[in-house]
């Protein structure tokens, strides 16, 4: 009997031991966001690169640079296998279910989630590994990047509005109207600026930024330069808040001018050296290798709207951006024989960097703000500094605001060709995206000004069309 008891006891001990085995197996296939409890310099570096790669990917997605160019009558994309490049842009409404409506949205929110994840992780960054100044500098940078993606989102959605993402991953937040979104972006940029102030101008980011943020005239690894970047965006946001056609706030123009001037290193109107025009952060593309991310503009089915070629002024050296196509691009009632120099499919163009916000845009934005603030002479100085840089004669003082707007629109079109939705935003706010100012490109041209919310977002909200936005 004793023997049985020993055996039974042995088995019981064995059973107890077995059941005590820790049943939790952490996934080792790939790290999870739960694994970010404690930030290291390496993990911060990788998370920053991951988030920025996501921003680049969506910025390089078709609606941002090509779609907005088509809406703004700078570009055509004609493809027999993909007629929706015309039917959902110049020929009809974009469909939220696919293609146009479905793009330029999800990826930015994925990037914003990534930025939010970093911001949460920074709250508990170990003081043994990071100085407080580094954490502040990093927080300021991440907040600025997040603001940039929100700016891209609202640029494409305009009055439709967009949601502001919550830190709770399950929360579907209300769709906020444009004014509320711009005000949120402005606040975000200000809090980032406060972070920079707390960090101190000499602090360096604890991560290595991609070359596009280091080598185009200015290295944004230091807080001093990040402040310029941040204020540039803030000036841009305040200008568009000021001119917002549905909710104008003229009092913001002087603020915008001050912020843009700060971003331009305090340069007086007309005094920004042309050598600085190209300075700014860029997205750099690596077409081959494991990265395999070519610049999407490098595509032979893209052409320039013939108007771009027709209205370029004699002697404007920016005409070099316009090249004659090897073959006519035509179909669906449209045709063009010119294209953007960077659109010609080639390895070099696939690697062509895309500016994010460069000084030339800031100069022209300041000119726009001066126009709205009634300071036409200052506006003229900035406009002329750009014109003369491209072989054109300086203009005489603008007779009126409309003349000034015409002048600045011309400069923006050719300076920022295929650099993003700048012209689309301007045409909208100046009330010029309509048949009064523009010729219809097709018989059914709806003069689209914005993309709808994508189908997935509508489905999640239980609606089939854009819901009314919350002010």
């Amino acid at each position: 009997m004793k023997r049985y008891s020993t055996i039974a006891l042995g088995l019981a001990v064995f059973a107890t031991g077995a059941c005590k085995d820790n049943p939790v197996a952490n996934p080792i296939e790939a790290p999870t966001i739960d694994a970010l409890g404690s930030l290291t310099r390496t993990s911060l570096q990788q998370l920053t690169i991951g988030a920025m790669a996501q921003s680049r990917s969506e910025t390089n997605n078709t609606p941002h640079v090509i779609g907005s160019g088509i809406f703004a009558r700078d570009a055509y994309r004609i493809e027999s296998s993909e007629p929706r490049w015309v039917t959902e842009t110049l020929g009809g409404q974009p469909d939220p279910g696919s293609f146009a409506g479905g793009r330029g949205f999800n990826g930015f929110y994925t990037a914003i989630r990534a930025y939010n994840t970093i911001l949460l992780a920074l709250n508990t960054a170990p003081t043994a590994l990071f100085t407080t100044a580094e954490v502040n500098a990093m927080r300021g940078f991440i907040r600025t990047q997040k603001a940039v993606d929100y700016m891209s989102l609202i640029a494409l959605r305009d009055t439709v509005g967009i949601p502001i993402q919550s830190n709770a991953p399950d929360e579907v937040t209300p769709v906020r109207c444009k004014a509320a979104v711009l005000s949120y972006i402005a606040a975000l940029l200000d809090s980032a600026n406060a972070d920079f102030t707390a960090a101190g101008a000499t602090t360096t980011l604890p991560v290595t930024l991609p070359s596009g943020f280091r080598t185009f005239g200015r290295n944004y690894s230091t807080v001093a330069n990040l402040i310029l970047y941040n204020r540039g965006w803030k000036g841009k946001v305040n200008y568009y808040r000021g001119i917002d056609r549905s909710n104008p706030t003229p009092s913001l123009f002087p603020t915008a001018i001050a912020e843009l001037t700060l971003a331009l290193g305090g340069a007086a109107p007309g005094a920004v050296p042309p050598a600085n025009f190209a300075n700014g952060p860029y997205w750099v593309f690596v077409p081959g290798g494991s990265e395999a991310t070519p610049n999407v503009i490098s595509e032979n089915t893209i052409g320039l709207n013939p108007l771009v070629g027709d209205s370029v002024q004699a002697g404007d050296t920016r005409a070099s951006k316009i090249v004659t196509r090897a073959a006519l691009l035509e179909g669906q009632g449209l045709s063009t024989n010119i294209t953007y120099v960077g659109a010609v499919a080639s390895a070099a163009n696939q690697a062509r960097p895309l500016p994010i916000l460069r000084d030339e845009e800031l100069v022209l934005l300041r000119a726009q703000a001066y126009i709205e603030a009634g300071q036409l002479a200052n506006a003229l100085a900035d406009v002329n500094s750009v014109r003369t840089n491209y072989g054109l004669l300086p203009l005489a003082l603008f007779a009126d605001k409309q003349t000034a707007i015409n002048a600045v629109l011309y400069e923006k079109r050719y300076s920022l060709l295929f650099e993003g939705p700048q012209r689309l935003m301007d045409l909208r706010e100046y009330g010029r995206l309509n048949a009064t100012f523009l010729r219809p490109e097709t018989t059914t041209d709806p003069f689209n000004a914005a993309l709808p919310l994508p189908r997935g977002e509508l489905d999640a909200r239980g609606v089939t069309t854009n819901p009314a936005c919350t002010p």
Partner: protein, 990 residues
């Protein structure tokens, strides 16, 4: 767990001390022989009915046991024979029993738990048992191929005709959409891995994401599933638990059914028996497509083909299919096994296998070597140890087949290459360049010569068990079993595509090298206690225990682009892509089971519950219960019926979530630097297993003194909590999340009929017929209808589609057009999507017949699959081009353009799966062989897949481009053609 443990423990203690002893005071001995021939029957089990007393016969058929006083009844059983009971009077000490052969396999032991079995006479489930003999009648490359046509309710598909496996078994229909879909394999109580490691074929086929140089795998890679490593010759029997009503003991691995393999064991006291089996065989191309014939460039031009760049005419019309797939390999299989035991109870079984199967293409082959040792050793009268160890090595070179986007697939290249072009090797060893640009100048003869696709696997399976008999009394036993095992393998796969081939010239960096190393380990550990209590009116078997399973996977795959010819070191590549996959899954479970046999062994009632937790569940600490209830009743019958058993079983099993619990970080590369962001697939912390509940009922009828048997089963299987991808608002930063929801209900019928129309001394005929049908329907779906994430080529050709109210196996395709364009084509917007029907067969039947005329034996197996739809994309490659019937091809192409589902075809077939003619050498001849050392010798001629009858227009209605997915496998894309195999076997027993 804490509440359960004391309960189990006290139950054990109770049974330990409640036993009362019975007197055993006389010896009964006797002899068991084969009825008719009088041949002694070794290893027969002899037991005293109503007690636990029992023993086995020795190799002279003799036994001896101590029995209680008074009249007793002995029950004598042996596998392959019908059991018999023999009364022994109180004064008798000697008894003789003759057993008759159980040709229809009426009696086997069926697994009911981790440590329990029950005689099939009482079993409450329709468990199919395939014996070693039926399994190995015709040589097959792998175990799963050997099961084809023998298991009602099993749908066996192959992803390629290439040598060496790639077979999927689906039991009782589709059981999942996104979770694991393969049955669980268990050998001698140890879980055996049946995963497939990526072969890297996508690096050169670019079947998926063409142009993405880093993409090395896809579901179209024709991977080998690792169950193919199992050596069918070592198997004593295979039991197939087809659904949750039988497999609930396997918890969250049981949904897809369980294939339980028992390997051969030696026999205590038996004389050593040496079996030598030598097989020689060959394979032949079974089918080709009828193609057009042009003997010259002029002919080709005249037929309307663009002849730019065509090479010099050979003035010969080549049949590329026959030339390329024309290898006549010499296949062989050598099996040696030694089994026996000694009087002290040691048993052993050792076996070795050397196998080579050549393919239809130069350089394609499948080689396998294995060595197994099974040992048993008692220690004292109460303790018995068993251990087994098997080492397996397989090496395959399966060439390239299936979908591609590079022209590397031979059939793809053949579809574009006019037959007058000479591609044969030049005298200097070089190969001509194929002038056809669309297939990247692919010369398939050159590819077969230069491109290597070796996959080298070393595998070790080890298992051991200890059984301690704590109580061994006349009417009560208590056994404790401890069992553990490890299955571990290393899979080294390479793709070597040298920069010298014509197709590589189309890559920016010619020369591709893929090297992958995978380590997979499965460990199983379990302990159980089984108590058997025999009373006059009942026998109660109580068992309880616990188990643990752990699975580790670690695979590193490197792809190199731009590799020097001859270099096989991936670090020398110009550009290198690295990928690593790792996972750990830990599960633990405990169970308790009661089997109650009463009413004169007529009624068997079983109740059990298995509780299991696994690290893949959202809550890794939570136990999920998988209960089982079943009852069988052998009804009293009139004289002409031997036996009628009614049975009813209910059980629940699960299917573990594979991913979905966590939000992973996805890596992205920015300017060459790798970074991470949260995946767009959001983790679901509440994720739980899919659950399948099945109710199965039926009857087993035996008539005409065992000469006829009919077994019929009806089941209803309901799968709940399906793992589904649900969309989420993209503004959250995520696009989807894995959720539990939805339901599939499958109904099915399985019938087995066995008859022995003739059973004489010299001549016998045994006929077995199986029938199975099942249909699964999506009865609830909380997400919008969707195309499963499995691969397809779009709705114009046909794809799977999941929609509430539809069959889960429905095939959806564009078929119809609201308005044709002026050119007769259907614009994309006007195409009408329709459900075309069921991709799974309406029913399957197997007809097996064995005829013996004295020493001559003839057997055949016919496999019939009625109905079922597939998509024949291979036709699309040839239509409007080289298909011989140009009118049909052109019309099909026009109809396709007009929006008709012309490539959806009926894939029903009848196949002559196996055929064997055997001859037993007469005793006077065998007696002269090897100085009389040979006991038996047998010669067999056999063939596999010799003939197919089908309306299907492709090469083989069974082939599937997407093997590794539960749904939508039905795509036929330029596959490796099927082969007929022939074998000559010489079997000698020493």
């Amino acid at each position: 767990m804490t509440r359960i443990r004391p309960f189990v423990f006290s139950l054990l203690m109770l049974t330990l001390f409640s036993a009362s002893a019975f007197a055993q005071n006389r010896r009964v001995s006797g002899r068991v022989t084969v009825e008719g021939s009088g041949e002694p029957l070794a290893a027969a089990s002899v037991s005293v009915v109503g007690t636990t007393i029992g023993t086995y016969t020795d190799d002279q058929g003799r036994f001896s046991l101590s029995a209680p006083d008074g009249p007793i009844t002995l029950r004598v059983r042996r596998i392959g024979f019908a059991h018999k009971t023999a009364p022994v009077g109180s004064g008798d000490a000697e008894v003789a029993v003759g057993l008759s052969r159980d040709v229809l396999q009426l009696e086997t032991q069926v697994v009911t738990g981790t440590a329990t079995t029950v005689s099939s006479i009482n079993a409450a489930n329709a468990v199919t048992v395939v014996s070693s003999e039926r399994l190995n009648r015709v040589p097959s490359q792998t175990l799963d191929q050997a099961l084809a046509g023998k298991v009602p309710g099993a749908l066996i598909t192959q992803n390629t005709g290439a040598p060496g496996g790639g077979t999927q078994i689906q039991l009782r229909g589709v059981s999942t959409i996104n979770a694991g879909f393969q049955p669980l394999y268990v050998i001698d109580g140890v879980i055996v891995d049946n995963s497939s490691i990526q072969s890297g074929l996508n690096t050169i086929s670019q079947a998926s994401r063409a142009g993405n140089l880093a993409q090395f795998s896809s579901t179209q890679d024709q991977n080998v599933n690792r169950a193919s490593d199992i050596n069918p010759n070592d198997i004593e029997s295979v039991q197939i638990l087809k659904g949750p009503s039988a497999s609930s003991i396997y918890g969250s691995r049981g949904t897809n059914g369980v294939i339980i393999i028992t390997t051969k064991q030696g026999q205590a006291g038996g004389k050593p028996t040496l079996d030598l089996q030598q097989r020689f065989g060959t394979a032949r191309l079974a089918n080709t497509l009828e193609l057009r014939c042009f003997a010259s460039a002029a002919d080709t031009r005249a037929a309307g083909f663009d002849s730019t760049g065509y090479g010099a005419s050979t003035n010969k019309c080549h049949n590329f299919q026959k030339e390329f797939y024309g290898e006549k390999p010499l296949n062989y299989q050598t099996v040696a096994s030694l089994r026996g035991g000694n009087v002290s109870g040691t048993t052993y079984f050792m076996s070795g296998l050397v196998q080579h199967d050549g393919g239809l293409v130069n350089n394609d082959f499948y080689n396998k070597q294995s060595l197994r040792v099974n040992l048993g050793q008692p220690f004292g009268s109460r303790l018995k140890f068993n251990a087994s160890l098997e080492g397996i090595h397989t090496l395959t070179n399966r060439g390239v087949s299936g979908n591609d986007n590079t022209g590397i697939n031979p059939l793809n290249a053949i579809s574009a290459t006019p037959p007058h072009i000479n591609l044969a090797r030049n005298p200097d060893g070089t190969f001509p360049r194929n002038p056809i640009n669309v297939v990247r100048n692919s010369n398939f003869f050159q590819n077969a010569e230069l491109i290597k696709t070796p996959e080298d696997v070393f595998r070790f399976l080890g298992a051991s068990s200890a059984v301690y008999t704590a109580i061994n009394q006349e009417r009560q036993t208590l056994d404790f079993t401890l069992r553990g095992g490890i299955d571990s393998y290393n899979d080294h796969a390479e793709i070597i595509s040298p920069a010298t081939t014509y197709i590589e010239q189309f890559n920016a960096l010619p020369g591709t090298l893929f090297v992958s190393d995978g380590k997979v380990m499965n460990a199983t550990l379990g302990a159980s206690a089984t108590h058997r209590l025999i009373r006059d009116v009942f026998t109660a078997t109580t068992s309880a225990g616990f188990g643990q399973v752990r699975r580790n996977v670690d695979i590193v795959a490197n792809t190199g682009r731009g590799v020097f010819p001859g270099v096989t070191n991936v670090s020398s590549a110009t550009q290198i892509f690295t990928n690593q996959t790792q996972s750990i899954v830990k599960s633990s479970s405990f169970f308790i089971q009661e089997e109650f046999l009463t009413l004169g062994e007529r009624l068997l009632v079983t109740a059990a519950v298995n509780s299991e937790r696994t690290s893949n569940n959202g809550d890794a600490q939570k136990y999920y219960a998988y209960p089982k209830f079943s009852a069988s009743y052998r009804t009293p019958t009139p004289n002409f019926i031997d036996e009628l058993k009614m049975r009813l079983a209910y059980g629940r099993a699960g299917n573990q979530p594979t991913t979905g619990k966590f939000t992973f970080l996805t890596n992205l590369v920015l300017e060459g630097v790798t970074g991470f962001r949260a995946s767009t697939v959001k983790g679901f912390p509440g994720i739980k297993p899919e659950t399948a509940s099945e109710i199965e009922g039926g009857f087993d009828l035996t008539m005409l003194t065992g000469r006829a048997r009919l077994s019929a089963t009806q089941f209803r299987k309901q799968i709940d909590n399906l793992l589904l991808q649900a969309s989420v608002a993209p503004s959250t930063g995520f696009s989807s999340q894995t959720i539990n929801g939805g339901q599939i209900v499958t109904h099915g019928t399985e019938i087995e009929l066995g008859i022995t129309p003739i059973q004489g001394e010299r001549f016998s005929w045994i006929s077995q017929t199986t029938y199975a049908s099942n249909k699964g329907r999506v009865t609830r779906l909380p997400v919008p209808g969707f195309i499963p994430t499995s691969g397809s080529f779009g709705s114009r050709f046909g794809n799977a589609f999941i929609q509430q109210g539809q069959l889960v196996t429905v095939l959806q395709a564009v078929n119809g057009c609201t308005a044709l364009s002026s050119t007769g084509t259907c614009p994309a917007a006007n195409r009408i999507l329709r459900f075309m029907g069921n991709s799974a067969p309406d029913y399957t039947m197997g007809f097996s017949n064995d005829l013996s005329f004295g020493p001559v034996r003839f057997s055949s197996l016919i496999d019939w699959r009625k109905g079922g739809l597939g998509v024949n994309l291979t036709n699309n490659y040839f239509d409007g081009g080289l298909l011989a019937d140009t009118a049909v091809g052109n019309q099909r192409l026009r109809d396709f353009g007009a929006g008709k589902a012309v490539y959806v075809e009926n894939t029903g077939f009848v196949k002559l799966r196996e055929i064997t003619l055997g001859y037993d050498l007469p005793a006077n001849l065998t007696g002269k062989l090897f100085n009389g050392g040979v006991q038996r010798a047998r010669i067999e001629l056999s063939g596999r897949n010799l003939k197919t009858w089908t309306d299907y227009t492709g090469l083989d209605p069974e082939v599937s481009n997407f093997g590794n997915q539960p749904l939508g496998r039905f795509q036929d894309v330029t596959p490796y053609p099927p082969s007929r195999t022939y074998f000559l076997t010489i079997n000698t027993t020493f």
